[in-house]
């Protein structure tokens, strides 16, 4: 006798009847996929379709008028010889390294301090969250005023302390000023992830180390850091993804001027200012591939770290 499948139902007359779509969707075997359908549809419409559309246009020349002209890999060749794009890429990588390192160092330092109980801890932690709660664009506008040379708050404080004013937005410093604004906004993210991590570490291991006479530095290096490494990798992966797409601090300050144009800004300028959709799509695809590649490497390291931690 043939085994019954969800598509077929035996009847008294031994005639094979095909199951209805409803029966298939609600069957034990396929119900889990049924539940995933809405999500898959949303992802297909809002992620896959634009992505494929973007990839398609990266091989075309199109300015939103008339027919798109197929140009093969010309946009990609142009990209590799585009000085402005390569400069923006270099700056983005520079910002990435500076911001991730500083945010981690500050975050770890503060997490070590704040993981202990102290008077007013809730107020301090609440205030530290504040930069994360403000819209990035508003924040960049505020810092733009604060760093103004003649009447910005920062230089006024420096002058009150008897120091010289600093030209924060000079072509030499502007990129670092952008990094500062970004770090200022995002260090609480690293801090709070690591505080949560530190608080969940098993106490018995640390007590054993203390009984064995391990120094605080040795304990930190050999116990705390390895056990925090999965969280550190998560912070690095997430921040890398976000920093490759850094945009808001530029919008409220230099608007890509004084040699601060980053990858996302040049994509925006090309695609939504010049409306050069073809070349802009090429840049966007490159940016996506870069993010995936960097994150894939980091994810591999993360998995290794997770394995090590366990």
């Amino acid at each position: 006798m043939k085994a019954e499948t969800p598509w077929e139902t035996r009847t008294d007359f031994a005639v094979v009847r095909r199951s209805t779509v409803w029966e298939i969707l609600t069957s034990e075997k396929y119900f889990k996929w049924t539940l995933l359908i809405p999500l898959l549809v949303v992802l297909a419409i809002f992620m896959l379709y634009p992505l494929l559309y973007c990839a398609y246009y990266s091989f075309h020349q199109w300015g939103m008028r008339g027919e798109a002209i197929y140009v093969g890999a010309q946009n990609y060749r142009q990209l590799l010889n585009d000085k402005a794009f390569l400069e923006a890429l270099y700056r983005t990588l520079k910002v990435l390294v500076i911001c991730v390192s500083c945010e981690l160092l500050i975050g770890l330092g503060l997490a070590l301090l704040w993981s202990r109980n102290f008077p007013g801890e809730n107020v301090v932690r609440g205030l530290a969250l504040f930069p994360l709660l403000v819209a990035p664009l508003i924040l960049s506008l505020l810092w733009n005023f604060m760093f103004e040379y003649d009447f910005g708050a920062v230089n006024l404080v420096l002058q009150a302390l008897g120091l010289n004013k600093v030209y924060w937005w000079s072509p030499e410093r502007a990129l670092y000023t952008i990094c500062f604004i970004t770090i200022w906004q995002w260090f609480p993210f690293a801090t709070f992830v690591l505080v949560a991590g530190l608080r969940s570490l098993p106490k018995d291991v640390f007590e054993a180390a203390r009984v064995d006479g391990a120094s605080p530095w040795y304990t930190f290096r050999r116990l705390t850091l390895p056990m925090l490494s999965p969280l550190i990798m998560i912070i690095v992966v997430l921040r890398t993804m976000w920093l490759i797409r850094l945009f808001d601090p530029l919008y409220g300050t230099t608007r890509g001027g004084v040699q601060t144009e980053l990858l996302d800004w040049i994509v925006y300028r090309t695609a939504f200012v010049y409306f050069d959709i073809g070349y802009g799509s090429t840049m966007a695809i490159f940016s996506l591939v870069l993010t995936i590649a960097v994150c894939a490497v980091m994810f591999k390291i993360l998995m290794k770290a997770l394995g090590g931690a366990h």
Binding site: Y149, G152, Y167, W169, T254, G257, V258, F272
Partner: protein, 483 residues
């Protein structure tokens, strides 16, 4: 006696009738003149964020009540207006019925907008004549900026025509006048040439502790405040090159007035090189922050008393800067003059009707209504913007003893400069090409580069010429070439 009484009554009647006729003749277009709108479909429009529109929105509600047409208003910051509307217009969605237009986009969007004359012919009981009669009070410069190929596509509602702001109190000071004459050999007066501007910028650049008007300064003083950031530098450079008789490209016309081609002439490139060189020279006398500055920083520098001259600034910001100066430097007073060469950057925020609109009838009347005297007055008095209507700018209410400075002064400046500049506007390249909006955005980035030492002036000109040709070839059908 009876005869005299009749004569008197007759004379009074003639006077009353004459007066009534005058009043009727001067009566401006308003809500009452909008006929019954047959199409009652709701219309959508974008409106900039900011106080200027808050009160006008209340007036738009009156339009809704009077016409029975709902107006859905979406408020966005001005830098994103272009990209939001552009996508909808190109896709022909008709999502925005009333389109918010910066005048340099008029030609670019002309394929997607109704000509207002066409709509007047269709919906206005007074026809095209009635429409033209009403708009004759609008600045001729701004009306031309709102035309594409001879058709009126949009109506301006507030202007950002530029001017030169300077510290009038300093220029009028006898100590400064004498010191200037002793050093440079000619009288201190608002500059009308680059050399004069350079001399005066140099003369007024002083260190903390030096004297100004005989009083020691408690801060550094700069000769000029400029907007060299990658946002409005191109508006300043436009003033410069137009003032020298150049442009980003020269418009070559056929005998019938149609456009034959655009040519980036040697004269255009020379003017650009001269403008960029002089601009960079002047930065020596400007605050360091100018490299990232937009209008707000430049005005704040002057309003705080840190800078003497803004060589190019939007005239609509004169009152704000003057008020700030009065607060910070009580005896300070500003003057407003034409930029060097007398052809400042011009334009206005305007409104047009999308071709894909589902209710062009209501959209047309809303555009007319917002451009009307009453609405413009609200925008000007309560929104602090400067109307595109000359009859409003000359309203005695803005020229009384209390309002003459700084409001009336700006109004008079605008009316005078519009009259003087009107003959030139027709040939400005921005207002003749469909690539104007794209090139304008590109210029912000490219023209800023030599100021931030990211390129040399020659590299900047090369890049500007190449990209202008590339964008124009892509977005306009008129051929462009380099001479």
């Amino acid at each position: 006696m009876k005869y005299r009484a009749w004569v008197s009554i007759g004379m009074v009647a003639i006077l009353v009738l004459g007066f009534a006729c005058m009043v009727l003749a001067q009566e401006k277009f308003g809500l009452k003149d909008i006929p019954e709108i047959k199409n009652k479909k709701a219309i959508n429009m974008i409106v900039e964020t900011g106080a200027a529109w808050d009160k006008v929105i209340e007036y738009i509600k009156q339009f809704e009540t009077a016409t029975g047409v709902k107006v859905n208003i979406e408020r966005v910051a001005s830098p994103v207006v272009y990209s939001k509307e552009n996508v909808e217009l190109m896709a022909g969605t008709g999502y925005y019925d009333v389109v918010y237009v910066e005048t340099s986009w008029t030609c670019e969007w002309s394929d997607y907008l109704w000509s207002l004359e066409e709509l007047a012919a269709q919906y206005d009981p007074k026809g095209v004549e009635g429409f033209q009669e009403d708009i004759q009070n609008i600045s001729p410069v701004l009306l031309r900026c709102g035309q594409a190929y001879g058709k009126q596509m949009v109506l301006p509602f507030y202007t950002y025509h530029m001017g030169m702001f300077l510290r009038q109190d300093v220029y009028d000071d006898p100590t400064e006048q004498a010191a200037f004459k002793a050093k440079y050999g000619y009288d201190l007066k608002p500059p009308t040439s680059y050399k004069e501007l350079y001399d005066q910028a140099e003369f007024f650049t002083r260190k903390k502790g030096d004297a100004l008007k005989g009083q020691p300064l408690d801060h550094d003083l700069y000769g000029v405040a400029m907007m060299a950031g990658a946002y409005q530098i191109n508006d300043e450079i436009s003033c410069w090159i137009w003032g020298m008789g150049g442009d980003y490209a020269t418009v070559v016309k056929n005998p019938d007035g149609t456009i034959k081609e655009f040519v980036i002439t040697g004269k255009d490139k020379d003017a650009l090189k001269q403008a960029l060189t002089q601009y960079k020279d002047l930065l020596k006398f400007a605050p360091a922050g100018c490299l990232t500055a937009n209008f707000d920083f430049a005005c704040a520098q002057q309003g705080e008393g840190f800078a003497i001259i803004q060589p190019h600034q939007f005239a609509s910001l004169f009152t704000w800067t003057a008020d700030l100066l009065k607060e910070k430097v009580p005896d300070g007073r500003l003057g407003i003059y034409p930029t060097i060469g007398g052809q400042p950057y011009t334009g206005a925020w305007s409104l047009g009707v999308a071709k894909a609109s589902k209710n062009p009838e209501a959209a047309y009347w809303l555009v007319r209504y917002i451009a009307s005297y009453d609405c413009q007055k609200v925008l000007m008095k309560e929104g602090g913007q400067f109307s595109a209507r000359m009859d409003l700018l000359l309203d005695p209410e803005f020229h009384s003893a209390e309002t003459e400075y700084p409001l009336g002064l700006t109004c008079s400046y605008l009316v005078d400069i519009w009259k003087a500049q009107a003959p030139y506007v027709d040939n400005y390249w921005y207002f003749n090409t469909k690539a104007g909006g794209k090139v304008y955005e590109m210029q912000m980035n490219v023209l800023h580069k030599p100021m931030a030492d990211a390129s040399t002036i020659d590299e900047c000109i090369r890049e500007l010429v190449d990209k202008t040709i590339e964008l124009t070839s892509k977005f306009d059908t008129v051929p462009i070439r380099e001479e």
